[in-house]
Amino acid sequence: MRRTELWRHFDFWLLGAVVILSVFGVVMIRSVIAGNIDLAGYDRRQAIFAAIGLAVILITTLIDYHLWSTLAQPMYIVVVALLVVIFLTGQARFGAARWLSFGIIDIQPAELAKIAMIMVLADYFARNIHSEKNLRWILRSFAMTAAVVVWILLQPNLSTSIVIMVMWASMLWISGLPPKYLIIFLLLAIVAAGALFPFLEQYQQERVINFIFPNPNARHGDNYNVEQARITIGDGGLLGQGYGSGSQVQLRFLKVRHTDFIFAAMAEEFGFVGTVVIVGLLVFVIIRCLRAARLAADPYGSLIAYGVAILIFFQTSVNIGVNLNIIPVTGLTLPFISYGGSSLVTLYFAVGLVESVAARRKTTEDITGA
């Protein structure tokens, strides 16, 4: 493929939206950390990560995504190995460990696992595109996924586990999961959720219980964060309190405002109008990824772009749902905007994959011509 052709199909709209969202994220982080000594400099770090991410996008675009197909097996093994290591070291430290420290950079293997699983599952489903869509087809993919998820679940990190399971389910869906299995799985999922609930960590159980049966007396208790998030959002009104002027944000009534609840902070300072614009941009990013999936040259590329779309879609909707108190607190961040180096670079890498797929797509003429 020639260079010119590569950049002809490069999705500048997607890149543009992602850059705008990241810049906005840095700006928003700058506002929410004002006056907090512990978080000082986070805006600058996020900006540096965004800059690195931009390079990652370009580099990833240049790499033919088919390369990842050949790396699927070793990548899978490395991810599982990393997760096992972190589980064992975590055990040794008597607590939850999610980070691996490599000198200056800390890596969250679970973040890595998300991307790795997109590629591994895309590879699996692309290879088995002609297989009969039977139980064996399903269970093999499930086994692959579960072998990774179980270590993440043991960290314990419920939210990432759910993300990966959702990714697996969505891949099944797009690869032609027969509807009868869908119904069976839904029923199974409900039963499993009920059966597994007692095995959750206590704080996870409490979060769920608190969400379903809110305790009206818990002023500073477990409902405090979501309650304050709702007040913060409502305080924004139509046009917002203005950048750096949201009292809930600036006076720190809103907690974890640089990560989980940055949506609420944004809603207070920029109001309904500003928030809808940002949410619209995120939806636009998802739509562009889906577009890349639909226009991809082959099933593997299509599934990668689709997987990234689902990843962004799921994280965005869960995070906003938490902020709006529609679903229980999970700890998933808002893509491109929430603070977090690992997560941001991972997302940029994912967008890079989509760009790589988009750049190597079949032209409209190719499809219609055939």
């Binding site: 007040i231 959002i233 409502g234 924004g236 109001g271 889906l290 082959d298 299509s302 879609f313 709006l324």
Partner: protein, 690 residues
């Protein structure tokens, strides 16, 4: 082939559309929710956000001082220093914390660690009142409110406070708190009048909070002038509306702060010097008799000094009293219980709340009534053989049974007229003219209904309205009262007993002072008052009390006229001045030739008065088996005034279980009068003279 697969793959386009539909559905719903929260309910949340960041702070005010008439301080605020520790501000590593505790422990003499932490010690934890070490106190506070300072050592001396202040930069979390504490320089001398402070009662908490007072910081009057004048003394706390962050740190003022207004200063009519002298007179008299008789006769008494022309109370002495300084910081349970359970009730201001039979002093209303109703003329002579017998009848045709009444002088006073009746406090004279006796005093004499009229006209039976809480009304019984409360008809004997101020009759020492003052003041009754003036914190007089005349019984028609069946006719009359004048003469004779002549012998100022000895039976007497006939104990009273011609003071002395008004109470009154005139001379720049 490959191309075909690819088409196959992408041909299930509807699966994409499901994803698009999900996307549209979820984000439409989110946009709707966002719209509801931000636009529809926006105002609710904006109000909540406003509430979050807005904090109302109450700025402490200063309670007003209380002074006596000469400007002597009776109640004030003094700084008290407490060592406080804020657990959250202590260093993070335990080593440094332990080092701070060790050094602090040396200064404040509280061990680093003492006592144990368990449910009981945590539940009963009271700062300033525990036996725990520093570590334990901080541990408890850290579990309750780590950001709030807890008092570790209370009421430390100023030097120690300064040492800790200087060290506080080295000892993060440790500080010295300055707490204003009420101080009563005159202590138990004026405790019943001044009272004391206590915490804001739970029942009134909201009301006080609305006005900016904080339970735990601000206190309210619990007794005495501190209670009755609370509204003037308390001042009004200032108010700040501030923006706070989530940790409660003040960011800025949202509104201009309203400064606190200090309470007003109260100047009482009390003269502390006279108060001390009157108390000394009372206490030394009690000690004298207890020592002389070799047993405890009495431990309780009251002295009141009042200006009859203005109603000003110059002294109001209660004994035994209590030390209100011990209640200043907090009210210690053991001390309060001790006072509460004391049979002599030292917490009560007996001058206004104690109801006692007034004894023979109560003959004075009868005396005025007898003349004013023309039962007898002043010269009419009645025979006192020392003992009389009347037939006790409870109803009209009751055959009755004979009952014996005695004079305090066994052989009797012989031929007694009006003046001699008062002078010798002749029971038989007053029984006969008050209740009637055969043909000597026909009918029922003055009769109980009319006796009551004159007693009430002099102020008995109703509260005087002095500016003190808990004033009692006393009791002036009449036949209706007896039927309702005892279930028995009124008998002739009841009148005989009542005339002597015994039986059912009850009066407070203050009522007796007011009644005596009314007679001394030629029938003009002044409202008794403790308040001279009220000044604001700048010293400007905001209220100057002027004498209030309650009534002039020689002009105001206050006496109900009864028909022959003792039914009020609805008409009223006043008291003729000459009856009061004669009564005054009788009282003058009491101190010159009568019952108190020995005690007033050689007193240079012409005085007048009336003795009273009132048999009683109460809980204390009952415990000592004294409530049998003939064994009854008696209170001693003396009500006097001086100078006779132009009275300046009325003095009432009451000695609980004092046996005899003349011997026990009269000397107290004389010494108090001496003190008054001595002080008057000194104030005029002359020699004391006594």
């Amino acid at each position: 082939m490959k191309k075909l697969d690819f088409l196959n793959f992408n041909n299930e386009q509807w699966r994409y559309w499901v994803i698009y539909a999900l996307l549209a559905l979820i984000f439409s719903f989110y946009t709707y929710r966002l719209f509801v929260i931000q636009i529809v309910d926006g105002e609710i949340y904006q109000a909540q956000a406003e509430e979050n960041r807005t904090s109302f702070q109450s700025l402490p005010t200063q309670r007003g001082n209380i002074y006596d008439r000469n400007g002597t301080i009776l109640a004030r605020n003094v700084p008290s220093y407490n060592v406080v520790i804020t657990p959250a501000e202590l260093p993070e590593d335990t080593g440094s914390v332990q080092e701070i505790y060790r050094q602090l422990s040396k200064v404040i003499k509280i061990p680093v660690s003492r006592g144990t932490i368990n449910d009981d010690t945590v539940k009963n934890f009271t700062p300033c009142l525990n036996n725990l070490g520093i570590t334990e106190i901080v541990y408890i506070q850290n579990s309750l409110a780590p950001f709030k300072p807890v008092r570790v050592a209370c009421d430390i001396d100023e030097v120690t406070a300064k040492i800790i202040r200087e060290k506080s930069s080295d000892w993060p979390g440790v500080d010295v708190e300055i707490e204003p504490v009420r101080d009563y320089p005159t202590g138990d001398l004026t405790a019943e009048v001044i009272g004391f402070l206590g915490p804001i009662p739970a029942s009134q908490e909201q009301e006080y909070r609305d006005r900016g007072f904080l339970p735990g910081r601000d206190k309210v009057g619990f007794a005495g002038v501190e209670l009755s004048m609370n509204n003037e003394l308390e001042g009004s706390p200032g108010r700040r509306v501030v923006e706070v962050d989530v940790s409660g740190k003040v960011i800025r003022d949202l509104e201009p702060p309203v400064p606190a207004v200090p309470g007003k200063n109260i100047y009482l009519t009390i003269d502390t010097r006279l108060q001390a002298a009157a108390r000394e007179a009372l206490v030394s008299e009690l000690n004298y008799w207890n020592n002389r008789l070799g047993k405890i006769i009495s431990l309780q008494g009251v002295v009141i000094v009042m200006n009859p022309k203005t109603g000003e109370i110059l002294a109001m002495v209660n004994y035994p009293s209590y030390e209100n300084n011990r209640l200043a910081r907090f009210i210690p349970a053991y001390y309060y219980n001790q006072l509460y359970n004391d049979p002599y009730k030292p917490l009560l201001n007996h001058a206004i709340s104690g109801e006692y039979p007034p004894g023979s002093v109560f003959k004075l209303p009868t005396a005025i009534g007898v003349l004013n109703e023309r039962v007898v003329t002043p010269d009419y002579v009645v025979e006192d053989p020392g003992e009389i017998t009347v037939t006790e009848r409870f109803y009209e045709n009751d055959p009755g049974r004979p009952r014996r009444y005695v004079c305090h002088k066994a052989e009797g006073h012989g031929q007694v007229n009006f003046l001699k009746g008062i002078q010798e406090s002749c029971n038989v004279y007053f029984m006969k003219v008050g209740g009637g006796f055969g043909t000597e005093v026909p009918g029922n004499g003055l009769g109980i209904w009319r006796i009551d009229e004159y007693a009430k006209a002099l102020g008995y039976g109703s509260a005087t309205g002095i500016e003190l809480p808990g004033e009692a009304e006393g009791l002036i019984p009449d036949p209706t009262w007896k039927r309702l409360n005892i279930g028995e008809n009124w008998s002739t004997g009841d009148t005989y007993i009542s005339v002597q101020g015994q039986g059912f009759v009850l009066a407070t020492p203050l009522q007796m002072a007011v009644a005596t003052a009314t007679i001394a003041n030629d029938g003009v009754m002044m409202k008794p008052t403790l308040i001279k003036e009220i000044r604001d914190s700048d010293g400007q007089v905001v209220f100057k009390n002027s004498p209030v005349q309650v009534r002039d019984i020689t002009k105001d028609k206050v006496i109900n006229i009864f028909d022959e069946n003792n039914i009020p006719t609805g008409e009223k009359k006043s008291v003729e001045p000459w009856t009061i004048e004669l009564t005054q003469q009788g009282m003058r004779l009491v101190v010159t030739q009568g019952t108190a002549s020995v005690q007033f012998n050689g007193f240079p100022i012409p005085a007048a008065g009336k003795t009273g000895t009132a048999e009683y039976c109460d809980d204390i007497a009952r415990q000592n088996n004294l409530c049998d006939f003939g064994k009854w104990p008696a209170h001693a009273w003396f009500a006097g005034y001086a100078p006779f011609d132009d009275p300046e003071i009325v003095v009432v002395a009451f000695v609980y279980n004092g046996k005899e008004g003349s011997t026990f109470a009269a000397p107290i009154v004389r010494r108090t009068m001496e003190a008054y005139f001595c002080l008057k001379n000194i104030d005029a720049g002359e020699e004391c003279g006594f």
